[in-house]
Amino acid sequence: MPNCKSKRTIDFMKLLALAVAALIPCIAASPDVDKNKTMGNPNAPLMFELYSDFMCPHCKVMHETILPSIVQDYVKSGKAYLIFREFPLQIPQHVYSRAAAALAVAAGRIGKYQAVNDALFKTQTSWGATGKLWEAVAPVLTPDEQKKVQALANDPSVLAEVQVDVDRGMKAQVNETPTLMITYKMKQQPWAKWADYSFFKSYVDGLLKN
């Protein structure tokens, strides 16, 4: 027969088990992501997941003109946590998209995701035509980093990470790029209209007021 102390221990263990059981769905719901592919505070009220394709011209425009405003208005101010997701479109024109995504993810493994992300979009027109991705990526890496990224780019776990993002996007019904998945209070809203930033801002500011 268990004594009082051991009964307390059993009760504590039961409570602990219940707490863990209650936390499991939360753990499962949290985004599985490499920290190098994120910006901002993970506990921010808003979560933005940006689904991009490195060969998509609209994604280049988004990355170079709209994303800086989003980062300034919501990420740096602690209102939003930004996650970069790979979404290479399966269309014949985007033949190098998946390889570019793999390079970016590989660079992420050594903490160079943002640098490679910027470089790929900046030189999109040239490597998009020639397929010489490495010429775009190499200048932003040291010789040692270059070796690591080249080795990682063909690593099955890196290729799998790209596919995880694609699957996640498909599940969330992302059907075009760039799409920003806005998550607020467990509710998701995809946003893919970037003709005018003010409408996006109006929507997000409205969410934060609620």
Binding site: P190, K193, W194, F199
Partner: protein, 147 residues
């Protein structure tokens, strides 16, 4: 059973009114189910109206579509409602053709977001316009017949 031409036409008009009115009301409902700012951004992509007008249209058009759809279905003010339906569909169709000819890769915005302008959407909206013009003509023809 008498299947005269007039009776067949009358049945066709009622069926078309229900289909077109239903589609219009459904399109309005889908737009209301998403943030108005998303529809406004969609309108802005056509680059035909200023931003303030895109905001105004995005806030009011879905309600108007529902009201017009219901009017067309129930047959209230048939001539007015069918003329309005044809007119609005003519505007939508023209804007879509213009965007397609300009090579714009944008959403139609007809039934919420995620519906890019393609030959399929043009065929769909073109068929709706043809149907709307038909019931409009019939509404005026019936008036002349009864007068």
């Amino acid at each position: 059973m008498d299947f005269s031409k007039t009776k067949v036409l009358k049945i066709a008009v009622v069926v078309l009114r229900v289909i077109l009115g239903g589609l219009f009301a459904y399109a309005g409902y889908l737009k209301l189910a998403q943030p108005w700012q998303l529809f406004a951004a969609n309108i802005a992509e056509y680059q035909v109206v200023p931003m303030w007008a895109a905001s105004f249209i995005a806030r009011t058009l879905p309600w108007f579509e529902i009201l017009l759809g219901v009017m067309v279905i129930v047959g209230r003010w048939t001539r007015t409602s069918t003329v309005m339906l044809s007119g609005i569909l003519l505007v939508f169709f023209s804007l879509m053709v213009r965007a397609k000819l300009q090579g714009k890769e944008i959403d139609c915005g007809c039934f919420g977001s995620g519906d890019p302008i393609s030959w399929k959407t043009l065929l769909r909206d073109g068929s709706m316009l043809a149907g709307a013009l038909f019931i409009t003509v019939m509404a005026f023809r019936n008036r002349r017949t009864t007068a």
